[in-house]
Symmetry: C2
Subunit: 237 residues, 2 copies
């Protein structure tokens, strides 16, 4: 049976921007595992209800169904022990989990401040009312009030301090070659990069260099990603 990943798309079916789906795509590529990407939109809850979730990524691997990006990465390590490990086991796995929570709680919220309104442009027109309503309820303010790139960049600079320190001594967070910690952060930066109307989101050369090195991996998968800027050039905002 085929391996299928439900992957969020936006105003164009090729515009793929979920940070969590990007994590999984990099993990699959790290292991040399093919996957068929199944385009999915925010409100297509019924299409993934079989996985007992309302969010992507959802991986169907033969008869195995796994939701949640970190769980999928762990599943892939368990199910394919002969492929290069992504999260590792024991303390290594735990430290990846710690970093995952750090990215979700400090890096992604900073990025969200930078691209909140850009996101609205990136998502499918049919999803925009849904997106605005759910996010404004979560933020407690309008998207326009939440959107503050300057404040976001200040938060991002602070949040990335430990990342900056590690990249001073090694080309990737996980060492000489990229691994799970790199993919966890890469997903969030790729998300912002795909939806940002004004690239680059990352203003620091050292971290931007790391991001571009990762974009070039796995046949340049990241480099080939369609961004909202490509669409706006053709279609207008």
């Amino acid at each position: 049976m085929a391996r299928i990943l439900y992957d969020l798309y936006g105003r164009d079916e090729q515009l793929r921007f979920s940070p969590y789906c990007w994590r999984v795509r990099m993990a699959l590529a790290h292991k040399g595992l093919d996957v068929e990407l199944k385009p999915w939109r925010f409100q297509q809850k019924d299409a993934i209800a079989f996985a007992n979730t309302d969010k992507v990524p959802v991986l169907c691997d033969g008869d195995q169904v796994v939701a949640d990006s970190f769980s999928i990465m762990g599943y892939l390590d368990d199910a394919y022990p002969d492929t290069p490990s992504v999260l590792g086991s024991g303390a290594s796995y735990q430290r990846a989990l710690l970093f995952s929570h750090y990215v979700d709680r400090q890096v992604s919220p900073a990025l969200l401040r930078i691209v909140a309104l850009d996101l609205l442009t990136a998502i499918h027109p049919d999803d925009r009312d849904y997106f605005r309503a759910t996010r404004e309820a979560r933020f407690g303010c309008t998207l326009e009030e939440f959107h503050s790139p300057e404040q976001g960049q200040t938060l991002l600079h602070k949040a990335l301090a430990p990342v900056r320190a590690v990249l001073r001594t090694s080309p990737f967070l996980d060492g000489e070659t990229p691994g799970g910690a790199d993919y966890l952060l890469f997903g969030s930066i790729m998300w912002a990069n795909v939806v940002s109307l004004q690239a680059p989101v990352i203003e620091e050369a050292m971290i931007d260099d790391w991001f571009r090195r990762l974009c070039a991996f796995y046949d340049g998968m990241g480099n080939h990603a369609l961004t909202v800027r490509d669409l706006v050039d053709k279609q207008g905002a």
Copy 2:
């Protein structure tokens, strides 16, 4: 030859509060390695000049001399491969390094806001002028202005979010038993705990429980630590 660790002391020779020395003491205990603690004070630079540093910890292990807590932890893993690993290797080591930078850049600065003036009470009277002068130069304000426990607690709560998330699913950061990631954070909290005039520094039960579990390890090494509160009860502030 004996194994010797130069360890910072304060107003009492038994008051040991360096976060970096505590990391190393826990790492040594994790490996079942004995050590002789050599009391050292801020201004005794000459006593450790042989290690090409002006800061503790400095470990002398036979004819090996190692400075910097993270380097010492890595040295111990290399030199004693048959003992339980503290930092691990490869991605595991890298992720510990990432967490170390996170603790130094986010957790410790928050704790410092909480105990800045308490620290002045904890250190040796002969070191107080030196401490005030060097720290006020670094902070760009007086210790009294820098000291702001309420702001520190807010920063600490935010900084500990990833830690909180991991401790929801495992008793220690490194999993079922403590490891390097636990000791990296423990050192900073122990530092604040030893010098704080108003314990507990950690107001959240889940994280305080984790700290107390660690204090009970290795014959209750953390529980037996003298705190400035023990001294003030006897001597006054």
